[in-house]
């Protein structure tokens, strides 16, 4: 086993007991809409938020494969927790890929300190696709940030938030302290799934910004960031797929009522029930395999970026974009179908709200709706047929 594989395996073993503990009341947390502040804090204390950092920043140097496996395992217990770290790990990845600078050093020091990073990128404004209504402006008193963001996943739990804004017609990313004056975080996410990700509104009103907190977005500098954030969502869905198999096993094994329609005297011995569970297991396996393939590609693009060979970087980023889009088209339908077919193990009691077995479908369906698959399928088809590159960043806006 290679050194990195050993690190990843040790990490998975180390975090398993904590993940188990955090998963124990996941259904109850959702029902009561109890935001997971304590759980996020426990993960921070255990070093989870630092796993991908270099050792000298208190990290574990987890590989991309290792990180996404950890996220899938966390999602298996509670997919809200996995999703809310989406921007955090993407921010670390981006920072590690940035050229050495004092700003980079300062940012890594904050992360080493345990800081959690949220995001504020998406808007519900009527801005056209490819433009933003959030503005960073120069005033006599310094830089000021104004705007309203929605889908600010994780920001409720974060110390810092990365805000996408326009400055004089240019795209910039602004790192803002979440407790700064003028930042308001609102828990108004009303999705029927992933209810505890804090994916609500963040309002910025005349927030004072230091120039060191502003990063110009450089479209010419290649990045696999689009694939990275998409893969966090896919890891969460993959974890849901594993939870479906877990729950099917528990439900069938603990079922005492006999069926008069059944092919055997107990559900456990019933060939049809066994067949249903086998299908669920295979769907989960397909999700695992697709996730692993895409995160391997992500590791390769990261190595190329760090190696600074421009041709190789382009090639590997293109490869990870395609692998991620394809993985999405495997993972989402596999897990959504499994979330529906779970109930085919039988029994009206499976629909009782205290079991919350519907949450797998609601959570997977909600995550899947963040990036409609149809457009990805079309993009891959366009690539296969016409050689068109698969777009890296997907934006929304008015047509």
């Amino acid at each position: 086993m290679s050194e990195t594989a050993t690190i990843d395996r040790d990490l998975a073993q180390r975090f398993a007991p904590l993940f188990d503990e955090l998963g124990r009341d996941a259904a109850e947390r959702e029902r009561e809409r109890r935001l997971p502040y304590a759980e996020v804090e426990a993960l921070r204390q255990a070093g989870f938020t630092r796993v991908t950092l270099p050792r000298r920043y208190g990290g574990e140097e987890a590989t991309h494969g290792g990180l996404f496996e950890l996220l899938a395992e966390l999602a298996r217990r509670d997919p809200n927790l996995a999703q809310l770290f989406r921007s955090h790990f993407s921010y670390i990845d981006r920072t590690l890929h940035a050229p050495a600078s004092a700003d980079r050093e300062a940012r890594l020091a904050r992360l080493a300190d345990g800081a959690i990073v949220g995001n504020a990128s998406h808007e519900r404004s009527t801005a056209k696709v490819g433009s933003l209504a959030t503005r960073l402006t120069e005033t006599p008193g310094g830089l000021r940030l104004n705007g309203t963001k929605f889908y600010s996943t994780g920001t409720l739990f974060a110390d810092l938030v990365g805000v996408a804004a326009e400055q004089d017609g240019e795209f910039v990313s602004v790192l803002v302290e979440t407790d700064a004056t003028g930042v308001e975080r609102i828990d108004d996410w009303t999705g029927f799934g992933q209810r505890l990700t804090g994916s609500g509104t963040t309002v910025f009103t005349e927030v004072a910004v230091d120039a060191s907190a502003v990063t110009r977005r450089e479209p010419e500098r290649p990045s696999h960031g689009g694939a990275f954030v998409q893969l966090v969502l896919l890891a969460a869905v993959t974890g849901i797929g594993r939870a479906i198999v877990d729950d099917a096993g528990v439900f069938v094994r603990t079922r005492t009522r006999t069926y008069s329609h059944g092919a055997a005297s107990t559900a456990q011995a019933d060939p049809i029930v066994q067949e249903v569970v086998g299908e669920l297991s295979a769907k989960s396996f397909a999700a695992d395999a697709a996730l692993a393939a895409a995160t391997t590609a992500l590791g390769r693009s990261s190595a190329a970026i760090l190696g600074a060979d421009p041709d190789l970087v382009q090639e590997r980023i293109a490869a990870v974009e395609i692998a991620t889009a394809r993985a999405q088209l495997v993972i989402l339908p596999a897990v959504l179908d499994a979330a529906t077919a779970l109930f085919d193990v039988g029994g009206a009691s499976a629909v009782e709200t205290h079991r919350a077995l519907d949450r797998h479908w609601r959570n997977a369906r909600t995550i899947a709706s963040h990036n409609p698959s149809r457009f990805k399928a079309r993009a891959i088809g366009d690539h296969v047929v016409n050689g068109t590159p698969v777009a890296s960043w997907w934006s929304t806006g008015e047509a």
Partner: protein
């Protein structure tokens, strides 16, 4: 019950369906209006004060009723089964005695299943001289909370009998403890009977008539499929409303509106195909079942037809209800739009009946010409079949 009155009733209630589910506001007012419209007697002959609808016409209305409010359609399941059994009864006096009740709007709920480890009955009929009473606890008593009468199974000594008792008797109590993640307003919870008097006229010992039993089995499933077809129809209407109003798009500037996008159109087209197919299959089966037959083979064919329709319709609809979200972005998952309720409602209905198990039964029939023992009326019980696990039969 004029079609115009029925349609204007549906228009008046459809807008409130989401908030009724969210607030868990039971459908007492809506059921009362339907009773007033004569829905309870829709199948009763015109000469006896009813609406005289064919079974296919009734199912067409059940589908549109379920589209307006899925729980409101489901509530009538026990009632429809009761009325269909009544229409087939050779006992004229019994029929007329019930036609009179139905014609004033009385609703009959049902109470079959019990919550034990096995499918035996613990509800008993007691005889104290001339006085008959029934005592027991039933679960999955869909519709009983709204009912005037409740039809239930009980043991008379060792015989399985069916009795119909007043839902308004002080000994009858229906509780809204239904805890499913779907169909929240069906009142499919517990009903208890504590020495509730039974009119001897309403005690029925089934004849073990195979044809009648097959027809009942077919109707039990077909009613649920009618509700499912209605939910699918509503999901299509909601999806069309959502896409038409939508301006946000995914991708790059200059792309067209969602309603003009071929990828979005394709998803809506798939959903539309499922909706129309489900409706056509349900109505075709209703047509087959319209005339009760005394030929057991013909009745069994009709039963198998419904089972086959169930195998096709349930997965098609569930799949379409999951995929409809592909028409839009994250705003489609909002709880105010509540597009998830369609999946939750159909998933709940589909879980009440182990349709997956029936695929093996159908295969057994095709391969070996036999059906599992649960299919054989009168083989072990001279009366009714044992209700399957969790069935709201």
């Amino acid at each position: 019950m004029s079609a115009d009155d029925f349609d204007s009733f549906l228009s008046s209630i459809r807008g409130g369906a989401v908030s009724r589910e969210t607030d868990r506001r039971l459908l007492f007012d809506e059921v009362a209006e339907l009773k007033h419209l004569g829905f309870a007697a829709a199948r009763v002959p015109v000469a006896s004060g009813g609406g005289g609808l064919t079974l296919e016409q009734l199912f067409a209305r059940l589908i549109t009723l379920s589209a307006a409010d899925s729980s409101l359609g489901h509530v009538w399941r026990g009632h429809i089964l009761f009325v269909e059994a009544l229409l087939a009864s050779p006992d004229t006096a019994y029929r007329e005695h019930w036609f009179a009740r139905l014609s004033v709007g009385d609703l009959v709920g049902n109470a079959q299943s019990e919550r034990h480890a096995t499918a035996h009955l613990e509800t008993v009929l007691d005889r104290d001289g001339e006085l008959l009473t029934v005592t027991g606890t039933k679960y999955y008593t869909t519709g009983s909370i709204y009912a005037d009468w409740i039809y239930l199974s009980a043991l008379d000594g060792t015989d399985r009998v069916a009795v119909t008792v007043s839902a308004h008797d002080p000994g009858t109590r229906s509780v809204d403890d239904w805890d499913g993640f779907g169909q929240p307003l069906t009142g499919s919870g517990t009903t208890t009977f504590d020495r509730v008097p039974v009119d001897p006229r309403d005690l029925v010992v089934h004849s073990g008539d195979a044809a009648g039993w097959h027809r009942t089995g077919a109707l039990q499933q077909l009613i649920l499929l009618g509700v499912v077809a209605g939910i699918a129809q509503r999901a299509l209407e909601d999806t069309v409303d959502y896409v038409r109003a939508r301006r946000r798009t995914v991708g790059h500037a200059g792309e067209h509106l969602p309603r003009e996008d071929p990828l979005v159109q394709s998803i809506v087209g798939q959903l539309s195909s499922v909706v129309h197919t489900a409706r056509a299959l349900v109505l075709a089966s209703a047509r087959t079942l319209d005339e009760p037959t005394s030929d057991p083979d013909a009745a069994r064919s009709a039963l198998l037809e419904v089972f086959r329709v169930q195998q096709v319709v349930l997965p098609l609809v569930l799949d379409a209800l999951s995929r409809l979200f592909e028409v839009g972005g994250a705003s489609a998952v909002g709880r105010s739009t509540a597009l998830d309720r369609h999946w939750r409602n159909v998933r709940t209905i589909a879980s009440h009946n182990p349709a997956v198990q029936r695929s093996a039964a159908l295969g057994q029939f095709e391969l070996n010409g036999t059906l599992p023992e649960w299919q054989a009326p009168g083989a072990r019980h001279e009366t009714e079949p044992v209700p399957a696990d969790g069935e709201q039969a």
